[in-house]
């Protein structure tokens, strides 16, 4: 059966806190608005299904805005009259879950997974995760000032920072060594001791 479900507004764009609209030119930019979110504890007379809903202590401090799902009285409101509350998953009944399923506790990080993949010796024409990484650029690298971001025509030989003009150079001379390494770290050029 095909029931046309209304679009659920799970992202409420209600009135916002004191925020000025940024003047971006592209109208297709979706405004991620700030909502002052408040939660009320759910009304006692809720028509829910046979799912046990537990409230956590957080519920008392926050109140929800009702989701505007139902338009007409004929279409069945999929969410009843219960307001969404934060749910502690530990306390919830999960009938769909296989009770004998054991969650694996140890996980390989991406680095380890990729290392293991490398050892498999797959033929070279088959795309793998490591394979499809974009190769380095052929074009000569354009250099930008590390301090200001403008075009950098010069490099300081002592600190290896790139700078835009003599003015910026004066600033560089007054930097502390830690800060210099931070600037270099912005473009992965810092000295890394392991």
């Amino acid at each position: 059966m095909e029931i046309e479900q209304e679009e659920v507004d799970s992202t409420n764009t209600s009135t916002q806190m004191e925020i000025e609209e940024p003047d971006n030119d592209n109208p297709s930019l979706q405004m991620d608005v700030d909502t002052a979110i408040t939660f009320e504890p759910p009304l006692p007379a809720t028509s829910t299904t046979n799912l046990a809903l537990e409230e956590t202590s957080e519920a008392s401090t926050i109140t929800p805005t009702p989701s505007n799902a139902s338009s007409s009285s004929e279409t069945y409101s999929p969410f009843g009259s219960s307001f969404p509350t934060p749910i502690n998953l530990h306390l919830v009944r999960k009938p769909f879950k296989n009770p004998h399923y054991k969650t694996p506790k140890k996980f390989k990080t991406l680095k380890q997974i990729l290392a293991a993949e490398r050892n498999l010796n797959t033929p070279l024409d088959v795309p793998t995760y490591s394979n499809i990484e974009a190769p380095p650029s052929i074009r000569p690298q354009k250099k930008y000032c590390d301090i200001t971001g403008l075009e950098a025509k010069y490099t300081d030989p002592k600190t290896r920072l790139r700078y835009h003009s003599a003015e910026v150079y004066k600033e560089i001379k007054q930097l502390a060594p830690g800060v210099i390494q931070d600037y270099l770290g912005l473009r992965h050029a810092a000295v890394v001791l392991r």
């Binding site: 991406l110 997974i113 990484e133």
Partner: protein, 730 residues
């Protein structure tokens, strides 16, 4: 718009990232989906997870892919929150974990919680999930990850069948672009950007490429840039705030170098600079205008009272003085009425030794009375100091008796003191007269020969400037250990400390150490001391400023901005402009301004890294170069097909100005007659889910889904290749 017109620029408030309302739990399961076998479509992204039934128009659930597990101390319970629920509690927010490492799922415990949450929210109450699952996975997902995911789904939830696909391709499908026609998809997501060509009805993964730049990388970069730009900022900037900056204030520059020039130009800078205000608490002791006025009044009151009191005291003193004067005068007059010895006794009572002293005292008191009266009346009096006389100094000793000898000594001392004072006064007078002479001479020269005088002044000014700069340079050189000045200093120190010091002049026959005989030897200690001779610097600087003042006065070409102070002032530097803006001028005391940030060049720098990853230090080609590279690998016909449908999708592509920039850049590398057409997804964020849902309703989906039996036979890594999916390899 000139600079003057923007006297009050708009100030934007920083805002934390949006807090979603948590998703509602569905209560319509029996009504909608029970016993129907409708596929569940899960767009499993590293930023957000979107879930819905295949026949929904939009995903029912849309939440951040985060899980927070912690122990609540108050109720002594372990709490597990998933998705947007974590934003309801601060501890939860700080414990948030994601199942992803990059764009690959690696933490399946977290994934399990997310799936629990999904099925719970969908309202499923059967003992197994009796719905086929269509899930998205990254391009070239490692087999390990897929195996664990299939395991989780089949073993943990008992699903009947599972199918995996690539989200960017689903988005392509949702926008009514045909696979048979071909195209090229550029998808920029949270952690990565992929470019995937589509030819001959399927995705050509062998030629697809991945750039490690996405929304998360740009947020990180923005945060680091801001932290370095404002190291002394009073509050700490969070990732969410950086994300707010990236989402709302960045844009892609059409011509990067041109935009940079506009930012460095003071006039156009103010238009493009954005001021962000962070929340702050103004200090408690800030006084309002009324309070200040009241304080002023109080101060004036006090001053008046003091003056009155002082006047009263003066009057009192005058009266006292007059009384004492009266008594002394009486005493003197009473001499005639008393016997001499009695009178002398009376004098002794008043601690006066003889008549002469009495006379002196009377004189003094008269004078003070006169002075007090004058002060009261406000008459300025002219003091006539008589020349003190030293009568006894010239008489030779043998003519005097003892008392007179003592007198004489006293008088000699007094006389010499008096004479030195005279001499000093004369010297001062002389110096002053000399200076006046000089100034008059200079005035004369200036009046007579303006040009010549001005030139002389300029040259002496330049000489002075040189001196100041040299001092600075010397100071700097001493800082650097390897400079010549520093090495000389080391030599001097070593020489002084050694047992066999090198003498300045070769002494033939003499081995004595004669250091110190000549006064100038000691100056070596002054030279090796590293302490800055601030006094000398100050002197030179004041001399310099002197010259500058004169120049300012008489030379029309010498403007205030040419002075030494103005040139070195921090306020005029480029870096200052970038951090503190131009208008309104920065006031270090203003608390509001202390909590303000200026985003200017970062607005274009952060999105530019997608086009030039070397900005971030990534050793990868930019997106335009990658696209060009891929396109060139195909033959002519295929190329034209691909270029005609260049599709751009993904949440990160919502940056304004991205598409025009892509278009211009691509046109510059493609042949001029290329039929380039760039299509932006209708909904870059949700179209992947929509495309997946569309496909899940077709027969194709059921054909390519991996059933439970197949999973048990072939293992979790097994995958049936289809146009939206990855390539299967063993």
């Amino acid at each position: 718009m000139s600079l003057r017109e923007i006297s009050q620029p708009k100030i934007y408030n920083i805002a934390e990232r949006r807090n979603f309302t948590p998703n509602c739990t569905a209560t319509d399961y029996e009504f909608v989906a029970f016993n129907t076998g409708i596929p569940i479509v899960i767009d499993n992204g590293s930023y957000q997870c979107r879930v819905g039934w295949a026949n929904d128009v939009s995903p029912r659930l849309q939440f951040d892919s985060m899980v927070s597990k912690y122990r609540d101390r108050k109720i002594n319970q372990s709490v597990l929150l998933v998705g947007n629920d974590i934003y309801t509690d601060a501890t939860a927010k700080s414990n948030a974990k994601t199942a992803f490492d990059g764009n690959v799922v690696y933490n399946f415990e977290t994934m399990e919680y997310i799936l629990d949450y999904i099925f719970f929210k969908l309202g499923i109450n059967t003992d197994n999930v009796y719905h086929p699952i269509l899930m998205t996975e990254p391009v070239c997902n490692p087999n390990h990850s897929r195996r664990l995911m299939s395991e989780l789904l089949f073993e943990g939830y008992g699903v009947p069948s599972v199918c995996y696909g690539i989200d960017a391709l689903f988005s392509f499908h949702a926008n009514n672009l045909s696979f048979d026609e071909g195209g090229i998809v550029a998808s920029s997501g949270h952690t990565t950007t992929h470019v995937i060509p589509i030819i001959g009805g399927r995705d050509v993964l062998e030629h697809s490429k991945r750039i490690s730049y996405g929304g998360l990388t740009s947020t990180d970069y923005m945060l680091k840039l801001m932290q370095l730009k404002y190291p002394t900022f009073p509050t700490k900037m969070t990732v969410n705030q950086a994300q707010h900056l990236v989402h709302n204030f960045t844009y892609v520059a059409q011509d990067y170098f041109k935009e940079l020039k506009e930012y460095s130009n003071t006039n156009s800078f103010a238009l493009k600079d954005r001021i962000i205000q962070f929340p702050y608490v103004p200090p408690a002791n800030e006084k309002t205008e009324e309070e200040l006025a009241r304080q002023e009044e109080r101060r004036q009151e006090q001053a008046r009272r003091l003056k009155e009191q002082a006047a009263k005291l003066r009057i009192q003193k005058l009266k006292d003085l007059e009384i004492t004067l009266e008594s002394y005068v009486q005493l003197k007059e009473s001499r005639s009425s008393m016997k001499k010895s009695e009178w002398i006794a009376r004098l002794k009572e008043n601690r006066i030794s003889d008549e002469a002293e009495l006379d002196e005292i009377i004189l003094k008191t008269e004078k003070s009375v006169q002075r007090a009266r004058n002060k009261l009346l406000g008459i300025d009096e002219v003091e006539i100091k008589e020349e003190p006389t030293f009568p006894l100094v010239d008489t030779p000793d043998d003519q005097l008796n003892d008392a007179e000898k003592k007198e004489k000594k006293k008088q000699i001392a007094a006389k010499s003191l008096h004479e030195t004072r005279q001499r000093q006064k004369e010297a001062k007078e002389l110096a002053r007269r000399q200076q006046e002479e000089e100034e008059r001479a200079e005035e004369q020269r200036r009046v007579n020969d303006f040009e010549g005088w001005l030139n002389e002044l300029k040259s002496s000014y330049e000489g002075q400037l040189e001196k100041v700069k040299n001092l600075k340079r010397k100071k700097e050189q001493l800082m650097d250990r390897r400079s010549h000045a520093s090495q000389l200093r080391m030599k001097s120190i070593a020489n002084l400390a050694s047992d066999t010091p090198q003498q300045k002049r070769r002494r033939r026959g003499q081995d004595e150490d004669t250091f110190g005989m000549d006064d100038n030897d000691w100056s070596i200690y002054k030279e090796i001391s590293k302490e800055e001779d601030a006094w000398e610097e100050e002197e030179e600087l004041t001399q310099l400023r002197d010259y500058e003042n004169k120049l300012l006065q008489y030379d029309p070409a010498f403007l205030p901005e040419h002075t030494f102070d103005a040139i070195n002032s921090q306020q005029n530097s480029l870096v200052f402009m970038l951090t503190r803006g131009v208008v309104p001028t920065y006031d270090p005391e203003n608390f509001g301004q202390m909590h303000q940030l200026h985003v200017n060049i970062e607005r274009i720098r952060v999105p530019e890294a997608l086009f030039q990853p070397s900005i971030i230090g990534l050793d990868q080609a930019g997106v335009v170069e990658t696209i060009g590279d891929i396109v060139n690998r195909f033959d002519c016909d295929d190329q034209r097909k691909m270029i005609k449908s260049m599709f751009v999708t993904g949440g990160h592509t919502q940056t304004p100005g991205l598409l025009p920039r892509l278009e211009t850049s691509l046109r510059s590398i493609l042949p001029s007659d290329a039929p380039l057409r760039i299509i932006h997804a209708n909904d870059p964020v949700l179209d992947a889910w929509r495309g997946a849902a569309l496909w899940a309703k077709t027969e194709d989906f059921h054909k390519y889904a991996v059933t439970r039996q197949e999973y048990q036979e072939y293992g979790g890594e097994y995958l049936k290749e289809h146009r939206f999916g990855n390539v299967y390899r063993i």
